[in-house]
């Protein structure tokens, strides 16, 4: 490898480090992302200027890049902010798939000259890349509601999973001893099976953690691929993503009060991520938009708890208008943001930022939780699990141990709900049946519009 190529790769590696650094602060995030993109583009341009490499099939390669670019840009621009988690899952999955294919090709071209260590790295790349691909596709299907978001468990699943895993290890050892193409292909297929079996038993509410975990997997895959290809920039970029992705996964799992092992294998051990999911017929107190408008209009302190349902109903803008009117009336209003509100940590911030809610009004859980006691009205819009006291009181609940917003401590709680259906975790919310709770049924956008009109008329 010529020196200039190695130097360019080094520079690109530095770009990625600075990109991640930038992405972890709100002011620097956008530039960080652009820097990462610049590094990636430069690195990918290198083969076309690298004379001694004697790159073949250039028109075909450029055409393939063009196709992928169009597909990527189209998907990225079309996707609604509510569907962001599944889009990230899909992008991640295709990356993992690409890494597995690259490793297979390298095995086919140079496998016979490989030492045992590059062969082991090849096996790793093929298996984990396929796991990431299949797992992400299942994740996508769950979030896009192409299939049920409940945990899918069947009797032989633990055996099938264990069996595939052992088979993958055995075949990897075989591949190291004797680099043959068919072993590589079977490893890829096994990876697909493992990915499928890994994600099927995960319940809907835990899927975001799995996206993050699979993201880290793909990172490690790319790192191993970098070793196989003796390419430093792949090794650096992949390792960075693998390490930061693993760390991020643990942070997220922490925010939900769960362990990663529990999320992945909880359903296997006795259905702990399973919720009942049935609709309750216990009596609740409901009211019309005008009553809610009066409650809100004469409150001094209001906290809004937004959830995924808000975004599904596309009611963010109406909500923001309502809050603006209340603030103009002299009410102190903030939004309480649970770390896993929405379907991915930080997702709610993105959704509200899209509706141009000022950043200062979004208060994180730890800061606002002590204020619920002095709050007149908590307005819960399309959220459920993040205010479910079962997380504190019911050890058998799937969300037990998750830190929640203390909405139940407020004087009044108003739930805007479409129906009595339980939240994403599939469990009933005791808060709905409290005497201090009032429900307002209907589509969030429509009912918020009515409340808004009624508040204006006060």
């Amino acid at each position: 490898m010529p020196t200039w190529v190695q130097l360019v790769f080094l520079a690109c590696g530095v770009c990625f480090i600075l990109a991640l650094k930038g992405l972890s602060g709100p002011k620097t995030a956008r530039n960080g992302n652009l820097l990462g993109a610049a590094g990636a583009v430069v690195a990918c341009a290198v083969p076309f200027f690298w004379r001694d490499l004697n790159l073949q099939h250039v028109p075909l390669i450029l055409a393939a890049i063009l196709v992928g670019t169009i597909g990527g840009v189209y998907g990225a621009r079309k996707v609604q902010m509510t569907q962001m988690p599944q889009m990230v899952a899909l992008f991640n999955g295709v990356g993992g798939g690409a890494a597995a294919l690259v490793a297979l090709l390298e095995l086919q071209e140079h496998g016979e000259f490989f030492d045992w260590f590059p062969l082991a790295a090849t096996a790793f790349t093929v298996v984990v890349g396929s796991v990431s691909f299949a797992g992400s596709v299942v994740t996508f299907a769950k979030l896009q509601e192409l299939m049920t978001s409940r945990p899918v468990v069947f009797p032989g699943l633990p055996v099938a999973f264990g069996g595939s895993f052992v088979a993958a290890v055995v075949l990897s050892v075989m591949l190291v001893n004797e680099p043959q193409m068919w072993i590589g292909i079977v490893l890829g297929l096994l990876g697909l099976v493992i990915g499928l079996l890994l994600v099927l038993p995960v319940g809907g509410a835990d899927v975001p953690i799995v996206i993050s975990l699979l993201n880290a997997f793909t990172g490690l895959t790319v790192a191993a691929g970098g070793y196989v290809l003796s390419n430093t920039v792949l090794l650096i970029a992949g390792t960075l993503v693998g390490a930061s992705g693993t760390f991020l996964t643990l942070l997220m799992a922490n925010a939900m009060g769960r362990s990663v092992a529990n999320i992945l294998f909880g359903a296997l051990k006795g259905g702990s991520t399973l919720g009942g999911g049935e609709v309750s017929d216990r009596p609740v107190k409901s009211a019309g938009p005008e009553d809610i408008a009066i409650l809100l209009g004469y409150a001094e302190r209001v906290i809004v708890v937004p959830g995924y349902g808000l975004a599904v109903a596309q009611a963010q803008h109406t909500l923001r208008e309502l809050v603006d009117v209340l603030i103009a009336r002299g009410t102190h209003v903030d939004y309480a943001i649970h770390p896993v509100a929405g379907r991915m940590p930080g997702h709610m911030n993105v959704l509200l930022a899209e509706a141009q809610v000022p950043y200062e009004q979004l208060i994180e859980m730890d800061e606002i939780n002590s204020e619920f006691k002095q709050t007149d009205v908590v307005l819960v819009v399309g959220a459920n699990d993040v205010v479910n006291p079962a997380a504190r009181t019911t050890p058998s609940a799937p969300i037990y141990g998750m830190p929640i917003l203390n909405a139940d401590e407020a004087k009044q709680v108003v739930f805007l709900k479409r129906s009595m259906r339980p939240g994403f975790a599939g469990i009933e919310n005791e808060l709905l049946f409290e005497p201090s709770t009032t429900l307002l049924f209907g589509d969030a956008k429509e009912t918020l519009g009515k409340v808004l009109a009624a508040v204006k008329a006060l």
């Binding site: 992928g68 990225a76 990356g95 090709l105 792949l234 991020l248 923001r320």
Partner: protein
Amino acid sequence: MSEPIVWLTIFVLSIFVGIEVISKVSSTLHTPLMSGANAIHGIILLGAILVTGTTSNNVALAVGLVAIVLAAVNMVGGFVVTDRMLQMFVRKPVKKTASTDGAGETK
């Protein structure tokens, strides 16, 4: 230093850097960060180009082109979607009476 050790060194140091650079991230930015990291591993596109461009086998060429398409989707889509998300975090220059002009943008 033998070559495998050099690779191991890069690997281990990158792990520490990867954890260190994001250790102070606020939960607000978890989604864009995940998405941005996701785009970075799209660099496998480079690997796909290198492998595809040096093969003389037609089947391998076809598989390689598929890998390039997939990797390009990952890389380009990842960066574009992250940028779209982050655009929304940029503070608009003194935006006060949002209730009137916001209505036109609700689409």
